[in-house]
Symmetry: C2
Subunit: 280 residues, 2 copies
Amino acid sequence: VTCDVASDAQLALLLELAATPKPGNVDRERDHPDLRFEQFLAGAVGARAGLDAAAAGAPVGIAFETAVDGMAARAQDNTQFGALLLLTPLVSAAAIAGEVTRTAAVDVLEATTVDDAAQFYRAFEHTDVRVADPPADFTDLDVRRGADAIPALRSRGLTLSEVVVASAPADGVAREWATDFERTFDAADALRKGTAPLPARISETFLRLLADAPDALVAARHGRDVAERVSERAAELVDADRATVDAWADDLVEAGINPGTTADIVAAALFVALSRGLCR
Amino acid sequence: VTCDVASDAQLALLLELAATPKPGNVDRERDHPDLRFEQFLAGAVGARAGLDAAAAGAPVGIAFETAVDGMAARAQDNTQFGALLLLTPLVSAAAIAGEVTRTAAVDVLEATTVDDAAQFYRAFEHTDVRVADPPADFTDLDVRRGADAIPALRSRGLTLSEVVVASAPADGVAREWATDFERTFDAADALRKGTAPLPARISETFLRLLADAPDALVAARHGRDVAERVSERAAELVDADRATVDAWADDLVEAGINPGTTADIVAAALFVALSRGLCR
């Protein structure tokens, strides 16, 4: 049995979900009032068809839109949109290049087309995604317009990579596309190096990423100041005992502060780590 | 997006896993010292290729052996062998008949062949499975012999259904094959009828099944008396408050008493419930 790339990606979603504590996010010990653990399980199952498509060589846009469609149908909410926007090109890269490298991932991004971008806009029709306002020269391409933005997209002739990278200033997932997955691969190295049990390494990696940079989803929902304070507190707790981190995790859930972008990067990093040998 | 049968089966494994409390079993709140939550996540991912094969019309024996092989490779242990022995023919039935009914499931069992039985014996090569001693006239077909039993199997010309049903007196999964999945479909009805959140319905269904009949895995490991006492206690706790059931769940994990057969039936029942409309 080989650990095929689509199932590496699916397992990455599930391992990221279960690891605890992941302050502010749904984890094995915490639900949000309106977003429950089992919805993320369902989302990971529903996304599988899109991940299979990416592994089989489908264009990134089609694979992503299929994954989001399946996720939303199963989870009945947006559980893993950002994670799938990272995983889909990484799965494509693994399938095309035979292994996941930053170079292979960049090749996939550079090969995206206007058609891929159109599928990306269609993906926003399947579920509500919280995003920042678009850059001033992108109001006609606001992703919240969904498929209605496709004529403007086609007339401007932008590829998926160009559309995503334009959001990088305000969107931590887009920033990974713009930086050749820098934080994703750094986090993957951290995940592979530790000696603690994997769930503990995942939790620690989450906290270090959160300490490292304000979470974009928190900034979009609660403002830049809140996002920066959350990261400062994460930095203080990187070496704290488990009970202290657990207490903070409860506080963040209580306050509805959900560093979802950081979780997305952890899921992508887990995929890279798994496909580089964690599972074999 | 349709909720295809293979992903219904995979989600059934994951929802069964996460529901808590499920006294004695790994659940969202409990690990066994040597069997952890994330191993079950990995097992559900690894089993997917076999479930896909069943959904695509592969013979039950090949689909089951593929599922067990993938499960064991990912989980590095036996996490869901019994559940897969129930799910594989049910997925086949759903794929062939277009819906999961007891009649369709019986048709699948009756169509199994000697080749299917040979694959079943090969599946035991992939992982350690705790089973009861075989009936007196089955010592040459003891599943613990793995593929070494295949020549005896071929000379006796037994089908997979005949081999499994022969174990029914001591094996609760085999008994489902022998009784046309009676408890599986009853439990599926219970899962669909409740009004509580799904995880709570799963937990309650588990407790009622355990109260209803001694768990075969507990009997194989700890003796019939222990299995009967566990079921008597489950019957007392069916209407107990959550804290009381939680405390008993902790006690059983502490004592290493793991009603795994009951969990297998819950997973199969979840698949039937999902494929009959829970997810759509």
